[in-house]
């Protein structure tokens, strides 16, 4: 069946992508490996839900078969949820089809029958528009499109897996911190923090603000002072709080990419030329070790 093929290992994201496909006035065919998801997606407004069944527990192993399926069915577009495993499958499919692929598109539209996409380059400082022709692959993050509803037929399809890679073990990541993507207020700590114990000044401020504590990449990945889930940016969490307040964060573009949808951005930094001030609504040029405790005290007193 021709149309837009949709895949995501997150079923809510798959539903959003069906919303996109139907919004383009095209047929939407959802691929899933999960029986429960197939059931839930049967009310996603898709034209068809294909429950794929094969011999591997690693969805990535079906890349080649999905490529064959898309070519055989005359698919127009394969739109995939941008998760770790979604991105992987998408790129394998594009590789086997030797076709165009746009990763993490911020917008996708059909203009004169051609697909036009936009995405960020250079850490988020540059927006690139591309025109794609023929069958192509695009990945999209959650939250870009609205899900719709409507009954869809569910069919089961046997599909062959590449079994050269096998799953040995799977360990859930125990999330130590809060989910920053839904936090209303965030206090963000940067590499200016001298030592782990000094995180206390951030926690104290967060307590009076009712905020969660996040950080930049180095604080999590180099210092290991906060869990990796707590770092914000292009390769970390993308956040959209009412208030984001950073201390000792320089504001390199890859970090700023993750905070741009915040309502109000506040920065405290000793360097008046720090790029974070260009990305901020309000800022204080000063030492966070003086400013932050005083701010906490002032807010407490109010």
């Amino acid at each position: 069946m021709a149309g837009i093929y949709v895949y995501s290992d997150k079923k809510d994201l798959a539903a959003e992508l069906v919303g996109f496909a139907k919004g383009c006035g095209k047929r939407a065919i959802v691929l899933t490996f999960d029986e429960r998801a197939a059931k839930d997606l049967s009310n996603s407004g898709a034209d068809k839900v294909c429950l794929l069944k094969g011999d591997s527990e690693l969805v990535e192993n079906y890349g080649k078969s999905i490529a064959h399926l898309l070519a055989e069915q005359g698919a127009e577009l394969f739109v995939v949820g941008a998760t770790v495993s979604g991105r992987d499958i998408a790129a394998r499919v594009a590789g086997y089809l030797d076709c165009a692929m746009v990763s993490e598109a911020s917008s996708i539209t059909y203009t004169d029958g051609k697909l036009v996409t936009e995405r960020m380059m250079y850490g988020g400082s540059v927006q690139q528009s591309e025109v794609l022709e023929g069958l192509c692959v695009v990945t999209v993050r959650a939250g870009k499109f609205e899900a719709i509803s409507g009954a869809a037929e569910v069919t089961t399809l046997e599909i062959s897996a590449d079994t050269r890679t096998t799953l040995v073990e799977r360990k859930d990541i125990v999330k130590e911190g809060a989910d920053l993507s839904v936090a209303e207020r965030i206090v963000c700590v940067g590499m200016a923090l001298d030592k782990r114990e000094d995180l206390q000044i951030a926690h104290d401020l967060a307590a009076v603000l009712g905020a969660e504590v996040g950080c930049t990449r180095g604080v999590a990945e180099e210092k290991h002072w906060l869990p990796v889930e707590q770092y914000i940016g292009m390769s970390g969490a993308v956040v959209k709080p009412k208030l984001y307040l950073s201390m000792g964060v320089s504001g390199q573009i890859q970090h700023v990419f993750g905070i741009r949808d915040s309502q109000i951005i506040v920065a405290v930094n000793t360097d008046p030329k720090a790029p974070i001030f260009k990305a901020a609504d309000y800022g204080i040029v000063g030492d966070m070790y003086q400013v932050i405790p005083l701010l906490t005290k002032t807010l407490k007193g109010a």
Partner: protein, 255 residues
């Protein structure tokens, strides 16, 4: 001896990109650098070559400008480098890049492992490794946080959003590594000096038998406009600045 390939990209440093008044861009004056995460990929390849008893080879596909990257790459530990020198690299998309790199891997021969960075700092497309795997029809493992080897098997730990997966694959394979993989040391003086003496193989576009026509057409490139108030309290006593800030935040209704 088997070879372990480290794919690295010579990219424009994003901090040097100038934005013109009409929000068009000037990338031409930006200095080049080895894509940040590719420094971890090179280190991972050097370590893997050690573990497998093979040699690490740095591989890049770039315009003639990328020539200057070779010494830097070699100073990070690989025994040799391979450079696909082609003007076409300037317009290459994921499809072309993967085909060019895969063709070079075939030419190099006896390759047991190809290591890519998780994402290049210009594109951050995170598609090249799986695409190389598809072109070669080799197993691929992305989002790799650590690896070990057991004979001809590769055992990798992958980081997904909600779990860590341990997967096993047979060599040859392609992996994309996260920067948490290692800490990519800054090369010492001795390493820098010896880098100039290491062998470099150069391929021209025509040597590879690859179709260099990109599948995507870039239609526009513009600066992302940052529209923020940028009210910065920089003068006077800290206490006053804090007062001004709290007043402003109260007015915004975000406290």
């Amino acid at each position: 001896m088997s070879k372990v390939i480290a794919c690295y990209k010579w990219v424009a440093d994003e901090t040097d990109i100038k934005v013109n008044a009409d929000s068009t861009l000037d990338i031409s004056k930006a200095k080049g650098k080895i894509s940040d995460y590719d420094r971890n990929a090179i280190e991972a390849a050097v370590q893997a070559a050690g573990a497998l008893g093979g040699t690490a080879v740095a591989l890049t596909f770039g315009t003639p400008k990328a020539k200057q990257s070779l010494k830097d790459a070699l100073s990070r530990g690989p025994a040799e480098a391979c450079y696909i020198n082609a003007e076409e690299a300037a317009r290459a998309d994921g499809a072309v890049t993967a085909k060019a790199l895969a063709a070079a891997v075939k030419k190099i021969e006896n390759v047991s492992l190809v290591v890519c960075g998780e994402g290049a700092s210009d594109t951050y497309a995170r598609q090249t490794a799986p695409r190389i795997g598809a072109v070669l029809d080799w197993p691929v493992i992305t989002s790799v946080s650590s690896v070990r080897f057991d004979g001809n098997a590769l055992i990798a730990v992958r980081r997904l959003e909600d779990c860590m997966q341990t997967v096993k694959s047979e060599l040859p394979a392609v992996i994309a590594v996260l920067p948490e993989m290692n800490s990519a040391p800054i090369p010492g003086l001795k390493a820098v000096l010896s880098a100039g003496k290491k062998p470099v193989t150069e391929f021209k576009a025509g040597d590879l038998g690859v179709d260099f026509a990109p599948k995507t057409t870039v239609s526009a490139l513009k600066a992302y406009a940052m529209n923020r108030k940028s009210v910065i309290f920089s003068e006077g006593e800290i206490a006053d600045k804090v007062k001004e800030l709290t007043a402003a935040l109260r007015k915004e209704g975000v406290l």
